[in-house]
Amino acid sequence: MAEQRLGMVIDMKGCIACSSCAMACKIENNLPDENWWNRVLTVGGENRDTPSGTYPNLSMESMTLACQHCENPACTRVCPVGATVKREEDGVVLQDYDKCIGCRMCIAACPYTGVRSFNWEEPKYCLPFATGDADVPSHQKHVVEKCTFCNHRLAKGEAPACIEPCPARVRFFGDLNDPSSEVSKLISSRKYQQLLVERGTNPSIYYLV
């Protein structure tokens, strides 16, 4: 068993769909234009920020979606060159741009629609300068990328960049293997949901419902 299993707990009841986490991720990792590792999804409605149901019985709920850093990832197993691997010490699923041959096998293998993205062209940036942490590996054309749990911040003992900026304070990060961690306590005291559990990937993102 891994020493640590880093994971996130996100309280769907409190999420106000402000996209602060998505923006923080984008800036921290200097993501190319149109590339979002972490996104806000509107559950139910046909378009973003629209309710589901018919008036007056409307309801609206939001959730954020990024790589689930599965305990049993579907993506790492299929990569022919090992460009995406799960780090055994902490369970983080990483992506090596220098190794990736761009076969997109991992995109086909991941059950969580859209969390992996391929750079279909030379990355473009709307700003004339790079943003975020200088330790973030630079983006490349024709490779697959995704959320890294801000691996460069983990190395400094910090939580991913999307945790702190949440104005509703519904994002939590920590070691799911440690029963005294905040995340473990939350999932032991609240009702939660993991996405697509039936696929057997055992995602490390827990949504409080």
Binding site: L41, L65, V81, K99, A108, P111, F118, E121, G200
Partner: protein, 427 residues
């Protein structure tokens, strides 16, 4: 020996039999000149296909430098025409090797002189299958990593290994057949080789199926049936291709093939088609019966956006079986028709499988997409009607034509340079 040339000009020069007998000398002269012009035509064809193939390579270089954004593949439909063609050509490669190796393995009567040509067709198809994977890669210059960092848990890695072995075995097998026919090789060695060739052929289709069939992410793909089903589809398309090639060579008088052998092959095609459709039926029932998301897949195929491809496959399968199993319909023209629609039907099946796998997303909540999620064609229709998530771009068609020309080039070159046809009919 000159008598043996008869079938050649009987068909192609339309010289009547009696004329030929009376004016024996002149006729053999005209044979000489038709053969020369044929030789020239094949040279022209080789050059033309080479030029188109080179143009295809230029397009591929453009795709690599300007970016794969020029294809219509996007994050939510991350594979497209190239992988469809890859599946198709792995399948097409089956026919030749099976036709020539099965009779030898089991010691039954062969299918006549078609064996070596069929094996060469197999080899060309395998090369094309590899080429289609390569043009799909984002970083083909990193291909060496497959050796350096091989991750053997990846079905793609398995397929690369098996495809390579398959290619080597096919080439060795062809070489051994040629030698044995010349009387220099040992029939025993050839028989042992044919066993390996047959095993490799079955493996290569199964492993190709596993690239899709082991993906828990796509309900449409994740089924144990996919392996055997790929084998049956491969047999259908592969045998159909051999039949088409045989028909062309027969017509041009370069191959003598008894009608009986030809009929036996088309009957086999009927059997393979029946098995393939039977598997399809089993799979649809298993998906649809419990209702739920599996039923969505059945609806997608039978009444949804993939319905034209699905029904073409079913109807063409029915026509093929009718032609194959009615002795009065087993005429050369109808056999060619059955073969051609069989190949198109298997292409339709590959399209259904690939696009169908991406068509229904697991998580469908509205969101901004990370990178362009759908190709323009998908995007344009996404809001209006649930249309296809993917349709190839002009560049993809261009590159596919280039790769196909490479195949035609190899095929023609082989026919010209290798002793594939019976010596007396070789020009």
């Amino acid at each position: 020996m000159t008598e043996k040339i008869k079938p050649a000009n009987a068909q192609s020069t339309q010289d009547s039999q009696s004329e030929q007998d009376v004016q024996g000398v002149q006729s053999s002269q005209s044979t000489q000149s038709t053969q020369d012009s044929k030789k020239q035509a094949s040279l022209v064809a080789i050059i033309v296909t080479a030029v188109i193939a080179i143009a295809g390579i230029a397009l591929w270089i453009f795709q690599l430098t300007d970016g794969m954004v020029n294809t219509n593949m996007r994050n939510l439909d991350s594979w497209g025409l190239y992988i469809i063609m890859f599946m198709l050509f792995v399948g097409l490669s089956a026919g030749g090797l099976i036709i020539s190796s099965v009779p030898r393995v089991f010691g039954i009567r062969g299918f006549g002189a078609i064996g070596k040509v069929a094996t060469w067709v197999s080899i060309c198809c395998t090369v094309l299958a590899v080429a289609f994977v390569v043009v799909d890669l984002g970083g083909p210059l990193r291909l060496w990593e497959l050796v350096a960092y091989a991750n053997i848990s990846s079905p793609l890695m398995w397929d690369i290994i098996v495809l390579t072995l398959y290619l080597i075995i096919s080439i060795v097998y062809l070489w051994a057949t040629i030698r044995t026919d010349n009387g220099t090789g040992s029939p025993k060695v050839l028989r042992i080789l044919s066993v390996f060739a047959l095993i490799a052929a079955v493996l290569v289709h199964t492993v190709t199926a596993w690239i899709f069939g082991l993906q828990i992410a796509h309900e449409f793909w994740y089924t144990a049936l996919l392996g055997p089903w790929f084998v049956s589809s491969a047999l259908v398309s592969g045998l159909a291709l051999v039949l088409v090639v045989a028909a062309i060579l027969r017509k041009s008088g370069r191959l003598e093939l008894e009608n009986k052998d030809y009929s036996r092959m088309v009957m086999l095609l009927g059997v393979f088609t029946a098995v393939d459709l039977y598997f399809f039926g089993c799979d649809l029932l298993t998906s649809g019966f419990p209702g739920g998301t599996g039923a969505d897949i059945v609806a997608l195929l039978t009444t949804g956006v993939l319905a034209p491809y699905f029904w073409f496959e079913v109807v063409s399968g029915a026509i093929t079986m009718i032609i194959a199993f009615s002795p009065s319909l087993r005429r050369p023209s109808l056999i060619v028709l059955a073969s051609v629609i069989s190949i198109v039907a298997i292409l339709c099946k590959r399209i259904q499988l690939l696009i169908g796998g991406f068509q229904i997303a697991n998580i469908q909540h509205a969101t901004v997409s990370s990178g362009p999620a759908l190709s323009e064609s998908g995007q344009a229709f996404a809001n209006v009607a649930p249309a296809l998530v993917y349709f190839p771009s002009a560049l993809e068609f261009g590159i596919v034509i280039g790769v196909l020309s490479l195949g035609a080039f190899l095929l023609l070159l082989g026919l010209r340079m290798l002793p594939l046809l019976p010596a007396n009919l070789q020009n």
